[in-house]
Subunit: 421 residues, 4 copies
C-alpha cells in the first residue's frame, strides 16, 4: 500500500488542500485572477474548481440537508462535466473578478469544514473514501497546472517577473554521456497493479507485445538541443511531421517556448524569473512536434508509452524520496543529471511518448459523472510519462498516463530518446 493512503483520510485531506493554498501564497489577487490563454486557467479558478469537485461529488451525496455554498458557483466552477449541468465557457474564466480571491478562500474553508464533518460521521463508507481520494488526486493534478499556468501567464509579461525568488541556483555540471538501456522483445504487462489509487485510464492491466528496444539513460539536455538548433533543425521541413511543420510556421517558433536570446546569450524563463540557460539541464517546454523532430535529427525516435512503463518496472524505478523532495522543496525546475544509470524518469520533467492517448483494452470509465474524468479526452492527445518538478510528491507512478495535444508546450515536457535494438 502506498505511503499516502496509509495516512488517515482526514489528515491527508487537510495536507493536500493546504498545499494548494501554499502554492497560491506567493501570488497577488491579480496574479490569481488572470487567464493567459484558453488552455490555461486562473489560479483562483483552480482553487475554486477543486473545491467544487468535493462539493459536487462528495457533499451533495453524503451530507445531510446539503445546500450549495453559492448557487452560481455550480456553473462557474464546473470544468467539463456535462452530466452535472451547465458550465461557464472556458476561455472566459479570466473574466471572473467576482467572486474575489477572498471569497474563494472562504468557499474552500466552508467546504473543508463540511467535508471533515462528513468524514467524521461516515468515513467508513468505501465509496465515500474512494471519491475523496479521487478528489485529492484531482487536486494534485491541478496543483501542477497552477504552476504551469502561472508560469505561462508571467511569461507573457515583458518583465518576466518571478513566481517567487530563486532558490540557490544549481551550478552547471558535467552531464554523463547518454547511455542506452536494452530491453528484450516479448509479452509484457502494463497498467496499474496493486491496491493503491490509480486513475481509470491506467486500467485494466493488460498484456502487450513489445519488440526489442533501447531506451536512453537520461533526458536530452539544453546543450544537445542547442546543437539541433544550431544545425538548422527549425529550418528543415524534412525533420518534421507535416502537422509539426505547419505548427512551427504558424507559431513562428525557432526555439523552445520559454527561451529568448539576449545580448549575453540564451536565457530561459523559470518560475524564479529569467535565468541564463544552463546547458546541463534537460530541455523543457517542448512540444511533441519539437521532440519528434529532435529525435529524427538524432537518428532515434520517441519511446512508446508501453516501452517506457516496461523499462521503469523492469528497472524497479519508482518516484522516490529524491523526487518527492524536488517537487516539494520548491525548486520547480528540472535538475541536471550527475550520475550514471537510468535516470530522470520521475521528478524532473514529463517525457513525450509517440503513443496517442487511447483507451486500454477493456477500459471502462468510472461510474457516474466522474466517468467524464478521462475517457472523453482520448483523441488527438499524446501520452507523457514520468512526472515533473511541479508534480506533487507521492502523486505519480510508473503506470501514470499524462496527456496533452501535440502542440502543447507550457507543461514541463521533455525528450527521452528510444531506439530499435
Amino acid at each position: 500500500m502506498d505511503t499516502h493512503t496509509s495516512t488517515r483520510p482526514s489528515a491527508r485531506y487537510t495536507e493536500v488542500r493546504q498545499r494548494s493554498l501554499e502554492l497560491a501564497a506567493p501570488l497577488s489577487a491579480e496574479d490569481c485572477c488572470v487567464q493567459s490563454m484558453p488552455d490555461a486557467s486562473p489560479i483562483k479558478w483552480h482553487l475554486a474548481h477543486t473545491t467544487w469537485f468535493f462539493e459536487t461529488f462528495v457533499l451533495e451525496t453524503w451530507e445531510e440537508n446539503f445546500r450549495p455554498f453559492h448557487e452560481a458557483f455550480r456553473v462557474l466552477f464546473n470544468s467539463y462535466y456535462n452530466a452535472v449541468g451547465d458550465r461557464h465557457p472556458r476561455p472566459e474564466r479570466g473574466l471572473l473578478t467576482r467572486p474575489g480571491l477572498d471569497q474563494v478562500r472562504a468557499y474552500r474553508a466552508a467546504v473543508d469544514d463540511r467535508l471533515q464533518a462528513v468524514l467524521a460521521k461516515r468515513g467508513a463508507e468505501p465509496r465515500l473514501l474512494e471519491l475523496v481520494e479521487l478528489g485529492l488526486n484531482h487536486e494534485q493534478q491541478h496543483q501542477e497546472l497552477m504552476l504551469t499556468d502561472v508560469k505561462h501567464m508571467l511569461s507573457r509579461n515583458p518583465l518576466w517577473p518571478p513566481y517567487r525568488a530563486a532558490a540557490a541556483t544549481q551550478a552547471a555540471v558535467d552531464v554523463p554521456a547518454l547511455d542506452w538501456y536494452e530491453f528484450s522483445a516479448g509479452i509484457h504487462e502494463i497498467g496499474h497493479a496493486g491496491p493503491g489509487f490509480c486513475f481509470d485510464n491506467e486500467l485494466p492491466r493488460h498484456k502487450v507485445y513489445l519488440q526489442d528496444f533501447r531506451l536512453a539513460s537520461r533526458l536530452v539536455t539544453n546543450a544537445e538541443y542547442l546543437a539541433f538548433i544550431d544545425a538548422g533543425g527549425y529550418q528543415d521541413p524534412r525533420l518534421w511531421l507535416s502537422d509539426g511543420w505547419d505548427w512551427r510556421v504558424a507559431q513562428g517558433r525557432s526555439h523552445p517556448l520559454y527561451w529568448r536570446r539576449g545580448e549575453d546569450g540564451w536565457q530561459e524563463f523559470t518560475l524564479s524569473g529569467a535565468q541564463a540557460l544552463d546547458p546541463s539541464r534537460p530541455v523543457v517546454h517542448v512540444s511533441l512536434y519539437e521532440a519528434d523532430a529532435f529525435a529524427r535529427w538524432a537518428d532515434a525516435r520517441l519511446p512508446t508509452e508501453a516501452e517506457w512503463e516496461h523499462a521503469a518496472c523492469v528497472c524497479r524505478i519508482e518516484p522516490g524520496a529524491a523526487e518527492a523532495h524536488l517537487a516539494d522543496n520548491g525548486a520547480f525546475h528540472p535538475r541536471a543529471v550527475r550520475d550514471a544509470g537510468l535516470t530522470q524518469l520521475f521528478g524532473d520533467a514529463w517525457q513525450w511518448t509517440q503513443s496517442s492517448y487511447d483507451p486500454y483494452p477493456g477500459f471502462t470509465p468510472g461510474a457516474g459523472a466522474v466517468g467524464e474524468y478521462n475517457g472523453k479526452f482520448m483523441v488527438n492527445q499524446y501520452v507523457l510519462r514520468g512526472g515533473s518538478c511541479a508534480t506533487p510528491g507521492h502523486h505519480t507512478r510508473a503506470s501514470y498516463r499524462n496527456f496533452f495535444p501535440a502542440g502543447a508546450c507550457w507543461q514541463f515536457s521533455a525528450i527521452r530518446l528510444a531506439h530499435r535494438r
Copy 2:
C-alpha cells in the same frame, strides 16, 4: 473663459487626478486588472497610462535630470504613440498582473509630486500649461472609459455584479411626447470658438452649408425602442445598412447589448447591477447600426454632426450645472426627461450622428508626438455628440467630437432623430 481653466493649474491637476482614483475606489485589485475585450482596457492600465502621458509629454521635457519612474513602463503604458517608441500589444493589456495596483498607485503618486514641483517652478510657461491641460483632458476621457470598460467587464460575469450599490432608483416618469425643433438652411459655422481648451479635431472653426432640418427634442426611450423590437426590427434586413445587417447576424443581436429578457420581463445591466428596464429612460448602448435601423423604421434619420452642433449653439444649450451634477453624483445612468424643450443634449448619453469622423477643412494635428492624438483615427469611425452620464463635469462642449466604429456599443451611446423640414 471656462470655469475649469480659471482654477489654478496645480489645484485643477490635483482635482482631476484624484477623481481617477475615486472612480477606481469601489473596485478590487482583480477588477482593476482584467481586460474583457481588445477594445477595452483594464482600470489599472487607465490609471497608469494617464500617468505615463504626464511623465512622457511633460516631465521628460520640463523636469531637470529626468529619469523615468520605471524603464519598462514606457513601453507597457504607451497606448498608440508611435513617435514615442514601442508599445505593448493592446489585446494583452489584461495580462499585466505586474506591476500590481499598488505599484501603479505609487507610480501615480510619484509623477504627481514631480509634476507639481515642475508646475511650481515653471508654471508660467505656456507650452507647459498647454500640455498639462491636454493631459488633464486626456485623463478625463479615460475616466469615462474606466466606467464603460468596467461596465463591460462586469457584464461578462454571469452574476452581473454591480460596480457600486444603486443610488435611490428614479421612478419611471411620463416622458413628454417627442417634439421637433426646426432650423433653417444657410451658411453656419461649426468648430470650437473662444479661448478655452479644445482638442485639435474641433478646429479650425469653419463655415458649412446646412439644408433645412428638424431635430428631435429628446432621445429615443426604451419604450420606443421596444416598439421597434416588437415590430420585428431586428428581423427585417431592409431596415438595416448592409454592414449593419452582417454585424447583427454575426453578433446574434436581437436587443441592445446590456438587455436580457428574464422571467419578469426585460432587465438592463447598469453600473448598479441588474435593473428592471425603465421604459422612460433613453435607450443606451446601441451601435450606429441599431440607431440607423431604428431611425429608418421611424421614418426619420440621424442628424449630421454639423446639424447637431448648430442646433446646440443656436439654442444656446451648454453642459450646465445639472449635467455636471449628474456626472459627478455618480448615478452613471441616463435619466428620463420630465420637461419639454430641447433636452438631453448633454449629460445623459452620447448621440450617434450619421457623420463619419473626418478632418475639418484645414485641420492640422498638434505638434510633436501629441499630434497622434486624434487625426490618425479619422477613418471608419463615426461621430457622437453631446456627452454622457459618465462624462466628467466640465469636460464636454457643443463642439466636442467623440468617435467610435459603427459597431461599438459599450459606450453610453443613444439615438436622437432628425428629419428634413
Copy 3:
C-alpha cells in the same frame, strides 16, 4: 440629353448586353467560373446576375405569363436584394460549376429575346424604360467589375497569365510637372443635374460650402510613388492612419497590389500580363490607406468628393471621346499624361477622395426592391470619383459616385492630390 439615351432603347440594350459577352470572349469556361476572393465574383456570375436583374425587375412585371427561366437561378444569381428573397452566399459563388457557362449564355439569350419582345410591345411606358436604363447602367458597372475581378484572379496565378495579348505598348513619356488648379471658397452645387440617367445616390443636387482649395493637375505617377517607397513610406507609422497601418501590417504590404520586384526591376501585372513598371503612368491599385499615406508624405491631402466634382464642373471637363475610346479600345490600363492642363479626371483611373460615402441631404432610395441598390452601403465606404480605363464609354460623369472600403485595391484606384490654397 445624353448621347447614349438618344439611341433607341432596343438598340442600346443589344449593344450593352453584347459588350458583356465580348468582355468574356477571351476567357475559357474555367476562367469564368473561379472566384479568387469573397469581394470578387466569377465572370459567369456577372453574366448571370446582370441577366437576373432584367428578368426580376423587368420581365417579372411587364411580361405576360411570366415564368422564370430556371427557378433556382432566382436564388443563385440574386446579389443582395433582400426584398426579392433568398440569396446564395457571396463567398461561395465560385463553387457553382453548374449551371455551366453555356447554360448561362443560353439564359442571357432567352432573357434578351423576351426583353426585346416586351420592349417592342410596351416600350412607351416610362417606368419600364427607366428600369431598363437602370439595368443597363447596372450591367455597365458589372462590366468594369468583370475586368477588375478577372485581373485579380489571374494575378493569383503564379504564371501571371494575360487576360488578352498586349496591344502595342505605349512608351514611357515625359510627364509634365505637377501643377495646381485653384478654386475659391463659396456655396456651390453638387449632384446630378439635367435629364440624363443617374443613380439615386447622385441626388438630390444640393448646395455645399467649400473652402478655398487647390487640386493637382494630374494623377500621381509610378515614379512619384516609387520615391515614397524608397523614402521608407511603408515603414513609417506616422504617415499612416491607424487603421491603415494595421491593414499594412496584416497584409504584409510594402508596395501596390500588382507590383513585384524582379531581377530586372519592378514589374506590374496588367490585363496584358507582366509589364516592366512604366514610371510615367499613374500608380493604380492602391488602397485609400496608401493614397492617404502618400498624400501626407507629400505634404498634401486627398480632395473631398465635393471639391473634385466642383473642379470638374467649373473646368467643364466631361468624359469625352478620348476617354470613351480608351475604355473601348481595350487597352485596359491607364495612360501617361503628355499635355498640360487639368487631366486624367476620366478614363484612366478612379481617384480616392477623403469623403466617406454618405447620403446627400434629402437622399431617397429608389422605390421598391431596386431601392436596395445604393443606400444600404452608405457606411464604412469611401468615395472614388472619375472613371477608369475599365469603365465603359458613356457610363460615367462628373457627379458619379463610386465607392469601396478603404482597404480595397483591386479596382483601378489612383491618387490625385489636393491642398489648401
Copy 4:
C-alpha cells in the same frame, strides 16, 4: 504474386492512367477546376499532380536529356514533397484556371509517351519498376480522391447536381441482423506479407498481442444510424468525445454530411445526385467522432486496426471479384448486405478504427523524396481499413492503412462495431 503486377508494366501503366481520364470524362472543364475546400483538390490538379509524380520521380532520373514539360508545373503540381522544392499553397489550387484542362491533358499525354519510351528502353531495372508501381498506386489513391472531392464540390451547389446519371437504383433489401464474430487473444502478426506491392506504412510485418474481441458482421446501416439520431444522439454530450462534441457544435452538425431532410423524408446526396435515403445501406460520410459516439450509444466500440486486419486474415477475406466489380462498374455508392457472413470488409466503405495512425515498430520511410509519402503524416490522424466503392479494383488489401483526421467525413467512411468478447 498479385494479379495486377503480373500484367506487363507498360500495359498496366496505360490502363491505370487511362482510368483517371475516364473518371474525369463526365465533368466539364469548370467542374474540373474548382476547389470546394482546402482539404479537397480540383480534378484538374489531381490529373496534373499524378503526372508530376511520374515526371519528377521517374523521368527526371531515367530519361536521357530530361527537360520538364513546363518549368512552372514543377511548383504548381508538387503536393507536399519538401525535398523536391517549392510548392503552390494548397488552399489556392482552385485558382489555377491556367493551365487549362486541355493543357493538362496534353501534359499527361506527353509524360505518358516519354514514360513508355523509358519503360521500353530500361524496363528491366528494378528501381525503375518499383517507382512506376509506386506512381500507379499513388494515382489510384488520387482516383478515389477525385470521386470524393468532386462529390464534395457538387454537394456545395444548392442544385445537388449529379456527377453522372444514376445507374439503376438498387431496391432496399432486408438486411441480416447484426452478428458478432469472435476472435481469441494471443500474439498475431500484422503488416504486409508477400511479394506484391505495399506502401511503406504497412511494414514491417510484426507481432502484436490482441485480447479476445468480437467484430460485427457488417457495417452499421442508415436505419440503425437514424435510430441514434432519433434517440437524441446528436444532443447528448455524454456520448461524445470532448473534441467530438466541440466539432459537432462548431459544425452545427445534426446528421451525416450529405443528408438533408426534405418534405418527403431524408435524402442523401450521392454521385448520382439526390436519392431518398435507403435504410438498408451503410451509413457513410461520418466522422470518427460520429462513429465513436454511435458506438458508445450502441454499447460497443470501434475496432483497433490490428483487430480488423487480424479478422480479415483469419477469415481469409480479400478484396475479390465482387468488390473490384463494384468499384469499376461505377455505382460509386455502397450496397446493402443481402447475405450472412463477415461482409462489407472491402468495396463498400472505409471503416474507422480507434487506432491513431502511428509508425509500425521499426518503420522506415522509403528512400529519397518519396520517403515523404506516408511517415510525415503520422500524428493526429486515425486509421481506416478496408476499401470503398470508390477504391479502384486491385488497389486495396487487408494490410492497407488509409488515414484521415477525426473530423473528416467527405470520404466514404463508415462504422463497423467491435466488442470485448
